[in-house]
């Protein structure tokens, strides 16, 4: 797809100290740089190379991404939440674009 669009799944509520599961997906072709076009010319690499999840300004999970990650990158990971706050998700594209999404969680 022309424009990369992220999706995130974060529980809206949790109890203090809960281990929550976060899932993220973003549309991206993840061109590996290993393929050739019909004329035999290499197709330049074009991937998302970094994913970061911040919670209230602190990095809680991150991933350095290489071309072997499938198109439309999917990540699932855990976070232990101790307080209410905001998750910020960031994806960095090879072309310099940065895609962001936020999600709030209420912790009782």
């Amino acid at each position: 797809m022309a424009k990369s669009k992220p999706r995130v799944k974060v529980p809206k509520k949790a109890a203090k100290g809960d281990l929550i599961t976060i899932k993220t997906l973003i549309s991206h072709k993840m061109e590996s740089g290993q393929r050739k076009d019909k004329e035999g010319n290499p197709i330049p690499r074009s991937i998302i190379n970094k994913f970061t999840c911040d919670f209230n300004g602190q990095v809680v999970f991150a991933c350095d991404i290489e071309p072997a990650i499938s198109a439309n990158p999917f990540f699932e990971f855990s976070v232990r939440v101790e307080e209410s706050g905001t998750f910020k998700f960031t994806w960095v594209d090879d072309d310099g674009s940065v895609y962001e999404k936020t999600a709030d969680i209420a912790v009782q």
Binding site: F61, C63, A68, I69, F75, F77, R80
Partner: protein, 149 residues
């Protein structure tokens, strides 16, 4: 070809096609994966254990292979998994991803989907907060070709 195809002939033909299917893909050189590992460990020895790699025994399609990594750790402020590098020994380039965890991760577990050019070993190396390293391998079979349109 005769209509009476023996199993052996069929196997030979199938085998030939499989070889043809993977020809042209140059696997990552052993040295490159070793380089990536020593770059990650700083040359330290990695012990076995603590990591489990969850991946299908046989991938239905090499373009999208689900993989999960879990490292046994209390994930407290003074004892946690800092990072896990995932490498694919048989891909043109071995790098797949490096997960960075924190004590707030609660558990050192992550899932993603990866590309595998052929049957090969997945290698995961974990760096602990005390500076020790753990390593685990797992073979995933990738069947090349078939129909699939």
């Amino acid at each position: 070809m005769s209509h009476h195809v023996t199993r052996r002939t069929a196997m030979a033909l199938g085998g030939a096609a499989l070889v043809a299917g993977v020809a042209g893909i140059t696997p990552a050189h052993a040295s490159e994966i070793d380089e990536r590992i020593s770059e990650f460990t700083g040359g330290a020895e990695a012990q076995s254990g603590r990591i489990s790699i969850d991946a299908p025994e046989i991938a239905e399609n090499g373009n999208t292979v689900p993989i999960g990594i879990t490292v046994d750790s209390p994930m407290t402020d003074d004892d946690f998994v800092e990072a896990v590098i995932v490498l694919a020994a048989g891909n043109p380039r071995p790098g797949v991803a490096t997960f960075h965890f924190s004590p707030a991760s609660g558990e050192a577990a992550a899932k993603t989907r990866m590309r595998l050019a052929k049957t090969q070993d997945i290698v995961a190396v974990a760096r602990m907060s005390d500076g020790s390293f753990y390593r685990e391998n797992r073979t995933v079979k990738v069947t090349i070709g078939g129909c699939g349109g």
